[in-house]
């Protein structure tokens, strides 16, 4: 994995921490394989917050709202931190 991907992963972890909260984030594995709705137990409204933070951080190229809207329900449920990191890196490449 490249340095760029690792950097993105660190930023994504920071964004997730801001949403889930310092008090709770320690309960979760923030590895690339962890899923947002399953492993991190994120609610739909938290996914929205996360998508907006990604957009604010990386600009409209990383329009996560449009991306997730194209996912099927099953794909959304299976969405992992690694998927988001890959999406951001592809959007910025």
């Amino acid at each position: 994995m490249s340095t760029v991907v690792n950097d993105t992963h660190e930023v994504v972890k920071e964004l997730l921490t801001a949403i889930i909260g310092e008090d709770f984030i320690g309960e979760y594995d923030l590895g690339l394989e962890s899923t947002l709705t399953g492993d991190l137990e994120m609610e739909s409204i938290e996914i929205v917050e996360f998508a907006e933070k990604v957009k604010a951080k990386y600009g409209n190229n990383a329009n996560m709202s449009e991306w997730v809207a194209k996912l099927s329900l099953d794909q959304l449920i299976a969405l992992s931190i690694g998927d988001v990191v890959e999406f951001i890196d592809n959007a910025n490449s």
Partner: protein
């Protein structure tokens, strides 16, 4: 997302997509939902052309909690109040399920403020106009009271942050507000109420949804209607995101004047050949 304060002090959680869109459309989610219902589905597609305003109804999502005002008139006033706070004179509306009732109430009470109305799955049942919400409310009420009053609650929600948050919302709304009382006291929409609607209305239903059975009666009571039937059930737009978005944009963009297609039966109205 941002909290927008209404004149009555209520803070609504709002998310705007494409602020530069040509016209504004406010989307009203279903009961016990939040703005994610649209953000994760049709909103980004409709935002390619329109300024899309998503918000959480009071006591849901990230909006303020409130003990009173769960009648449709108050909900409608809050939608128009949101438009006021955002400086919008005229807006289109889109509602899903219970949100349809609020959207239609807005069109009845504030016809001069509403452009077009999109309803996705108006809740209804045969020959008892819009009374479905009564049973809907109490079904949920009884279900959650059951969990409130038994030890099952501890197991059911244990260590599930998302379920706990959901439960907290239900517990608050049902036990600390006038929600159930207000819903129960709500009067049915009458034909004269529908006649007040000046807006073109798109009635969207899933073909397999139980709500679809009431299409003809509702359609015949609203002066200007267009209809859209899609494969699927009550939440068809979640599965058919792009198709649904395309049809909604087509309706919003259309300059056609709509009138009742005058189908005589539901079977005729929902037949694939007629659409």
């Amino acid at each position: 997302m941002q909290i927008v304060k209404l004149k009555n002090g209520l803070g609504l959680n709002v998310q705007v997509l494409n602020p530069e869109g040509r016209e504004a459309i406010i989307m009203i989610h279903g009961m016990f939902g939040n703005l994610a219902q649209y953000y994760l589905t049709i909103a980004p597609f409709i935002a390619k052309e329109y300024k899309v305003i998503l918000f959480d109804l009071k006591s849901q999502g990230r909006s303020d909690r409130m003990e009173t005002g769960y009648d449709l008139k108050t909900f409608a006033e809050e939608v128009v109040g949101l438009a006021d706070s955002l400086g919008l004179e005229k807006v289109h509306l889109l509602g899903y399920s219970f949100g349809c009732l609020i959207a239609l109430k807005c069109a009845m009470e504030f016809p001069e403020r509403i452009g077009k109305v999109v309803t996705i799955e108006v809740p209804d049942k045969s020959r008892e106009p819009l009374m479905a919400r009564g049973s809907y409310t109490y079904d949920h009420f009884n279900y959650f009271v059951h969990y409130l009053n038994t030890d099952v609650r501890e197991n059911f929600f244990r260590s599930k942050r998302q379920m706990q948050n959901t439960f907290n919302m239900y517990e608050y709304v049902f036990n600390h507000t006038t929600f159930a009382e207000d819903m129960n006291n709500e009067k049915e929409f009458q034909q004269a109420d529908f006649a007040k609607i000046k807006s073109p209305v798109l009635l969207a239903f899933g073909r397999e949804s139980i709500c679809c059975k009431e299409l003809v009666r509702i359609m015949n009571w609203i002066p200007f209607t267009d209809i859209y039937l899609e494969e699927g059930s009550h939440d068809f737009f979640v599965e058919k995101v792009e198709q649904s978005s395309k049809r909604i944009i087509e309706f919003l963009n259309s300059s056609a004047s709509f009138s009742n297609p005058s189908f005589e039966s539901t079977d005729q109205a929902i037949a694939p050949s007629t659409l």
